[in-house]
Symmetry: C2
Subunit: 287 residues, 2 copies
């Protein structure tokens, strides 16, 4: 099952960090910028992937950054996912889709039927019938999903923190993630139905972790968004597993913090720093 | 302001029906099917638009149906929106996007900065900072949005019907739609911040209509999804305005119900039937 192989790969690399390829043209180093933003981002993405694939197990590609360039941007999104997959990486398509069932079938087809994409993120607002087509394709194509639960952004509480029956909405979502994923737990005790919980809300993450013990949790918000490794550690189980932690801008722009070294060295240095930062927080927190 | 011109166009055509171009290859009449699904759908979409543009003011294009064909599908999505706009129609991109603010900026750029697209649908689960970039672009480019409030699908209640502080979540969303749109009300009394309410939930729609009197409401669920014109009428105000009603499969597949007449005649007949059905329900309900 994908989720078991995924866990093995994280263990063998001793690295739960996810590199977020939310690549924007402005992020590309000046020396690499060509007149065509698409080709500039493509070269940058390839150099990032080449630098990290031996030490990082997972990339997350934020489709919005590609969609803003229209058709050529979507092509770049698929080229990037293909390149990362060729290098042996696991690929999360961060698409946050959600729609009525007949439409969700089409969205799932757009991503989960492709060999280069392993996971998608989905939005729970429309309920189970908007998620079910993705779960069906996870079974059919050996894939996984992460359902938005408590997101990392400042306004996430507008809807997610409303209290119903004594619990915030995000806990209701977590309970559903647990129910929806119960039948799909692999050998390592984790389901391919996972969740998204922002590292910016560590107290909430502790509670959510307990409510869905089998869910793998994708944790955004580390670094530029303000959360620490200690914050992110709240999403892990006592086995030191159960979560992956994304950093996008912190890694993509690391070359600006270290102008004295080359692009690849700056990226590798930042990824290793993040890996060690997370490993020590996870061990410290869960011992 | 776009929303005022939009209302004038609906009035001048006496038609609040939206034709939903959720076109799938299977919907294309056998005689029109080519080996390439993309070109088959393109020919079908053009013939639909040619048939309706003089009597219908608005099309809604469901991007999932295009994304499932990858890059060529996205190209078809933009070609279709361009063709409808050239014919003078208003175009809703049904994309249901929602993400953290820096990402929402990119999503908004993908759609609202394009001259061929007038409105997008967005998902409120992540709160105000995920919606604000779209509102900013609505101001800048004279566009509009529809925020998912109470959706038409059977499972919509999983999250939306949870009761917080004595009100279901969808009413909390409606109150936010009202607040977020208050500063953007045009001459006709309607804001460019609208809402989506399924015709399949007419009792809820009545309450929601009152909670956000200035919101234009996009109403899916009429026809194949099971709702009647009477159900859809609950989303309208006493001025006979304030809502538009989508039908997708009911119109796209009308040629199957009327094999004795041509494709265009079947579509026109169904659109006129729907228009009259809605007009009589709105007048009857609001007199």
């Amino acid at each position: 099952m994908l989720i078991d192989k995924f866990i093995s790969e994280i263990e063998s690399k001793r690295n739960c960090a996810v590199v977020g390829l939310d690549t924007q043209y402005e992020y590309v180093p000046d020396k690499m910028k060509k007149s065509d933003p698409i080709e500039s981002i493509w070269e940058f993405n390839k150099r990032i992937i080449d630098a990290i694939y031996e030490i990082v197990a997972v990339v997350k590609i934020q489709i919005a950054m590609y969609e803003q360039y229209g058709v050529a941007g979507l092509d770049l999104f698929y080229r990037t996912s293909h390149y990362a997959k060729e290098k042996g990486m696991y690929v999360i398509a961060d698409v946050k889709r959600g729609d009525i069932s007949s439409t969700a079938v089409a969205y799932s087809k757009a991503f989960l039927t492709r060999p280069d994409i392993d996971f998608v993120t989905v939005n729970p607002y429309m309920g189970y019938d908007s998620i079910k087509p993705f779960i069906d394709d996870c079974v059919k194509y050996d894939k996984g999903i992460f359902i938005l639960t408590k997101t990392s952004n400042p306004s996430s509480g507008d809807i997610q923190d409303l209290i119903a029956d004594g619990r915030p909405i995000y806990e209701h979502v977590a309970i559903k993630v647990d129910q929806w994923g119960k039948d799909y737990v692999g050998e390592r005790g984790y389901s391919f139905v996972g969740a998204v919980i922002g590292a910016t809300y560590p107290e909430q993450a502790k509670k959510l972790r307990a409510l869905m013990p089998n869910a793998y949790i994708l944790v955004p918000g580390y670094g530029v968004q303000g959360a620490t490794a200690q914050d992110a550690a709240a999403a892990f189980n006592r086995d030191g597993l159960g979560a992956i932690v994304n950093s996008s801008r912190g890694i993509l722009l690391s070359y600006k913090k270290h102008p004295e070294i080359g692009l690849e060295d700056a990226i590798i240095q930042e990824v290793i720093r993040m890996r060690d930062d997370l490993n020590s927080a996870i061990r410290g927190d869960k011992k």
